[in-house]
């Protein structure tokens, strides 16, 4: 079992974690970075240090390769980086992890959670069928292994849906159709925020170029689809939907469906640590309460990157640096003047990078029926296979919230620990009970935040386990 101590333990080696570790090391802090993946980069720069081809680089584009300087700075920063490490507990004492090296405990004065975002689960009839995965999952397969599926149907909305579709087009994959679920009214709600978004002009121009590329490819883009369902027995066989208010039910045969409804912070670790969280109505998700530097309500805990509020890779990197400055300052390693001087330009850049966010949040806000599915048979909790109808029955019987729902239905009690159902169950209870999402609340989460074996908790190495 490994035991060590450090000033700053960073959970996650995506843009926020890498930047924080580099900054902290430059400030003379001893930083340990733990990440589940075999290499650094997080989801956005997934497999960036693995063998690549020129063809794949061309498909993924300059934004993906733009992560290389950050990765290089991180790997040469002197931070103690442990890959393949699953952190299962964080506390004021530090972090505990399981991993190929036997895992262990790392004592830390400060813990920075930089666990990133996840795609908002998109519950619709048939979404648990083999062949159905998220658009982000399809992109990770492309980044890491150069894998593509022809004739897939993309369903949902959000920048990532169109980015992955563009990368598929560039890689020569045939897309069956893109079913864009964006609420047409969202365009009007977003419009007042366009001028501010244009201040960060590159972002919007990039989006328009992607849409033009997809249009030129001849890919069918379907708008106005409602009540989307996925059909199939052992594997998805078709997407069906209602076209327009009175139109006939449409059907498209396919073997692959890629879903996407934007991204939300993965709140499990900061919630299990009992940091204060708040409901963010604009992004329709729970986020950890934090100051500009990522300090949470707990003195030992900082949060940065998309896991602490969606801002994208650039903001994640900047927020990681700010968190490192806060850790250094709060541990007495950076005086107040230097802290203020170094923070100011980073805070200004965060403001500039966040300019398109109100526009994007409104343009790509999931439709209400997406947040809270209406179909009784739709599975909300994938692990325990709890359907919307069972949640509705429990609410009718007086179940007041997500935590009580566990006793009624087991929803949220499977291995994913509510990651897949937490937001949709909150939305369904909110809708049925007429209370706000903030009032309904979220699951009360606990350590260990990932399932681990007793051997992992006991800190036995693999070799020791073999002997027992």
């Amino acid at each position: 079992m490994n035991r060590t101590s450090c000033d700053l333990a960073v959970v996650g080696a995506g843009p926020a974690g890498m930047a924080a570790a580099s900054e902290a090391s430059a400030l003379g802090l001893r930083a340990v970075v733990l990440d589940e993946k075999p290499g650094p980069g997080g989801q956005i720069y997934h497999a960036i240090t693995a063998p690549r081809t020129a063809a794949r680089d061309a498909v993924l584009g300059p934004d993906y390769l733009g992560g290389l300087p950050l990765v290089d700075a991180f790997t040469s920063s002197g931070a103690d980086y442990r890959s393949g490490a699953t952190v299962w507990q964080i506390s004021e004492d530090g972090v505990s992890y399981a991993g190929a090296d036997g895992g262990g405990d790392i004592a830390a004065s400060r813990v920075l959670v930089a666990t990133g975002a996840m795609e908002r689960p998109y519950p619709l009839p048939g979404w648990t069928l083999p062949g159905v995965m998220t658009a982000g999952a399809a992109q990770l397969l492309l980044k890491g292994s150069g894998l593509l599926a022809d004739d897939a149907v993309f369903v949902g909305t959000g920048p990532l849906l169109y980015l992955v579709a563009t990368q598929y087009v560039n890689a020569g994959a045939r897309i069956e159709a893109i079913i864009d679920t964006a609420n047409p009214a969202a365009k009007w709600a977003a419009l007042p925020h366009l001028p501010m978004a244009l201040r960060q002009s590159g972002y919007i121009a990039k989006g328009l170029r992607m849409l033009a590329r997809i249009r030129r490819s001849g890919t069918k883009v379907i708008h106005g689809a409602r009540d989307i369902a996925l059909e199939g027995e052992d594997r998805v066989a078709a997407v069906t939907w209602q076209q327009g208010a009175s139109g006939q039910r449409q059907r498209l045969a396919c073997r692959h469906v890629f879903l996407h409804q934007g991204v939300v912070p993965n709140p499990n670790m900061t919630m299990a640590a009992r940091a204060a969280h708040r409901w963010d109505e604009a992004q329709a998700c729970w986020v950890v309460d934090r100051d500009t530097h990522g300090r949470t309500s707990l003195p030992w805990l900082l949060a940065a990157g998309d896991g602490a509020g969606i801002g994208g890779a650039k903001v994640a990197e900047l927020s990681g640096r700010l968190a490192a400055l806060a850790a250094a300052h709060d541990l007495g390693r950076l005086d107040a003047a230097a802290f203020a001087a170094r923070s100011a330009p980073l805070i200004r850049r965060v403001g500039a990078e966040m300019a398109p966010r109100p526009f994007l949040d409104r343009l790509y806000r999931p439709a209400d029926g997406t947040l809270a599915p209406q179909d009784e048979a739709t599975i909300l909790c994938r692990c325990e296979e709890v359907r919307r109808g069972a949640v509705a029955d429990a609410v009718a019987e007086g179940c007041p919230g997500p935590n009580q729902l566990k006793s009624f239905t087991r929803a949220g009690m499977g291995p994913c620990q509510g990651r897949m159902c937490g937001h949709s169950i909150g939305a369904v209870i909110s809708e049925l009970s007429g209370r706000s999402a903030a009032e309904v609340g979220y699951f009360r989460l606990r350590m260990p935040v990932k399932p681990v074996t007793l051997g992992d908790i006991g800190g036995m190495t693999h070799a020791q386990k073999e002997e027992t």
Partner: protein
């Protein structure tokens, strides 16, 4: 079905999936290797026996679970291919007591 649109440099190794030998790229993501080899489904659920395959590919959905080198409930999307790796599909609920090949 997934196809490889390019081939990054690196050794090709053999792994075993339920007594079937498949080719995989050393160091690549295990779930990706299983998808490329058309392993389907990855598992069936403990509750209803429904077939499941990877949904998120990033460690949050737990639908890609398998028994890897004797250890059950491993997230194959977070595992890396090693030569000679033995993967068994886990179907239905885990039996109580000593697991197939586990400690």
């Amino acid at each position: 079905m997934f196809r490889r649109f390019d081939e990054a440099a690196g050794p090709i190794v053999e792994i075993v999936v339920d007594d079937r030998r498949i080719e995989a790229r050393l160091g690549e993501n295990l779930a990706a290797a299983l998808l490329a080899a058309e392993i389907e489904p990855f598992r069936t659920t403990p509750v209803s026996g429904a077939a499941r395959m990877p949904y998120c590919m990033m460690g949050v959905c737990f639908d890609c679970l398998a028994i890897v080198d004797g250890v059950p409930n491993r997230q194959t999307c977070l595992e890396t291919v090693r030569a000679g790796m033995v993967v068994e599909r886990q179907n239905g609920a885990r039996a109580p007591g000593p697991q197939n090949g586990g400690e």
